[in-house]
């Protein structure tokens, strides 16, 4: 499936200088994790992670990050398709727009979201006035904040997959009489499945770790909007042990999910 890689194997390992740099990069990621494991109060681990606060924060995190990933799929896939395949002149500006939330410090993103979707926001004020629905300080607000920061990762990943697609397959299907919807569903989607899965994974991981936009837009209330990253932040100021243990729990859960999905989601490994 992956010829350059096989060739590399046949010729022996990576050039040594590259191997050295790769080693440094891997150690750079590994050592902070080692630090957490090193400092973790293992004797009290079970007591700490089975506490009510951790459980409620964790279940809230999992629900909200999953919902944010689904929203990213529902709205992000059409957006990515438009960016990659559409003819509109707006596409370049649109791509910049989608990339901006990745650059924006999430805390600022949260303030910007308040200005738009808050009680006095451009959209939030009329919605609050007519329907009596306000998003800040609610679970829906958490999902929205996480979607705001996670969806760009999904869109850009999937757009990359769509752009590297050979347009002739879709063209062939179309000349055989398939409608645009059918071409998209039966030809395009299966061909971009790998980037679709990768996009979902990064978006989910980003949503799970989201902190700044959530605490600014959705607030920080235990059981309602306090997700794991927020619980870790609060714990850091009261009980650093609990913070370390909660972070490890989050890392272990994410690692398990990535490990279980490795066959289907990273076919080349």
């Amino acid at each position: 499936m992956n010829p350059p890689r096989r060739q590399l194997r046949r010729h022996g390992s990576l050039p040594v200088p590259l191997l050295g740099l790769a080693f440094v990069a891997a150690a750079f990621f590994l050592l902070p994790l080692v630090g957490l494991v090193w400092r973790a109060p293992w004797s009290r681990f079970i007591d700490l992670v089975t506490g009510h606060d951790v459980r409620s924060a964790l279940s809230l995190s999992l629900q909200c990050s999953l919902a944010a990933t689904l929203l990213s799929l529902l709205f992000g896939l059409p957006l990515a398709a438009w960016l990659a395949l559409g003819q509109s002149r707006l596409r370049t500006s649109l791509r910049v727009l989608v990339t901006l939330p990745m650059v924006l410090p999430p805390v600022v993103g949260g303030v910007a979201m308040l200005l738009a979707y808050g009680r006095n926001g451009i959209v939030g004020a009329p919605v609050d006035h007519w329907f009596g629905v306000a998003l800040p300080f609610t679970r829906a607000g958490v999902i929205l904040a996480e979607t705001f920061v996670a969806m760009p990762f999904f869109v850009l990943t999937v757009e990359g997959g769509l752009r590297s697609l050979d347009a002739r397959y879709g063209g062939a299907a179309a000349t055989l009489g398939a409608s645009p919807w059918r071409v998209f569903r039966t030809v395009t989607l299966p061909m971009i499945a790998p980037s679709l899965k990768a996009g979902l994974l990064v978006a989910w991981a980003r949503a799970l770790g989201e902190f700044g936009a959530t605490i600014t837009f959705a607030g920080n209330l235990a059981g309602e909007t306090r997700t794991m990253p927020l619980a870790v932040y609060v714990a850091l100021e009261t009980s650093p042990d609990l913070a370390i243990v909660s972070s490890l729990l989050l890392v272990v859960i994410a690692a398990c999910v990535l490990f279980l999905l490795r066959k289907q989601w990273f076919p080349s490994s």
């Binding site: 390992s13 040594v16 191997l19 050295g20 080693f23 440094v24 303030v111 308040l114 200005l115 808050g118 009680r119 006095n120 800040p136 300080f137 605490i215 600014t216 959705a218 607030g219 920080n220 209330l221 235990a222 909007t225 306090r226 932040y233 609060v234 850091l236 100021e237 009261t238 650093p240």
Partner: protein, 255 residues
């Protein structure tokens, strides 16, 4: 697996020696008489002014300021930040620093602060005191109980016998002020000094004297820093009459 080639080891050694170069560079910076001051977030504006006045008095010195929520500063001090002076928003966090870090001299209280209710300009929801914060039609936020301002707020509410449902445990007084500025909530409890720097946008409703809580701000010089002379000079300046006058201009009261 193939044995890693031997020059990987040199690579690691080179990386390690680069670290000690960084150490030398850091000492070089400190020789320029800079004093690293960690101060509670609620001290931001007045400590910036204090540092400016101090540098004018001692032209060979430089004050480096770092502001954050007090608990976060405590964590950074404990993890070995090379801090010369630490100014806390409460005495509990000062005790945690004294227990966990080397302290030079004794901590002394240099300022006091009180709580106030903040509301939108013109007080549209007609808030008259702490008791009103329990009203169902009012959206209220407080700082989290881990932040000094949040703990003081809960103490005041308890004294007044008022039970408030805070919509969110905000991470700092600034976050509470911002939620009010954006019109996201109707009322919050912050320090008088926070309102003093936001009074163009917000109105204050006084907390009754018998329910109010006095926050004491202690300051201390730390042994972790390498500029003890500069640290002592700065602490003396904050406690001096010039320093006290400046603190009062920012709404703090004298110890």
């Amino acid at each position: 697996m193939k044995r890693p080639p031997s020059y990987l080891l040199w690579f690691v050694l080179a990386a390690v020696s680069a670290c000690s170069d960084g150490e030398r560079e850091r000492r070089g910076l400190l020789e320029r008489q800079s004093v690293l001051v960690f101060a509670a977030a609620s001290l931001t504006a007045c400590f910036q002014a204090l540092a400016k006045d101090f540098e004018a008095l001692h032209p060979d010195s430089k004050i480096d300021l770092h502001f954050a929520g007090t608990p976060q500063l405590v964590l950074q001090v404990r993890e070995g930040a090379p801090v010369d002076v630490f100014a806390s928003a409460d005495e509990a966090n000062m005790r945690r620093v004294i227990e966990n870090a080397k302290v030079v001299g004794r901590a002394s209280v240099f300022a006091r602060n009180r709580l106030t209710i903040v509301v939108a300009k013109g007080n549209p929801k007609a808030v008259r005191g702490l008791a009103d914060l329990a009203r169902a039609d009012l959206r209220v936020v407080l700082c989290g109980p881990e932040v000094p301002a949040g703990r003081y707020a809960r103490q005041a509410l308890e004294k007044a016998g008022v039970v408030v449902r805070s919509l969110s445990d905000e991470p700092s007084v600034q976050a509470v002020v911002n939620k009010l500025r954006l019109g996201e909530v109707d009322a919050g409890l912050v320090y008088v000094t926070d309102w003093a720097s936001a009074q163009e946008d917000l109105d204050a409703v006084a907390v009754a004297g018998e329910h109010n809580v006095t926050a004491a701000y202690p300051i201390v010089s730390l042994g972790a820093g390498e500029n003890r002379t500069g640290a002592a000079l700065f602490v003396d300046f904050v406690l001096s009459s010039a320093g006290q006058a400046l603190l009062q201009r920012y709404g703090f009261s004298s110890p």
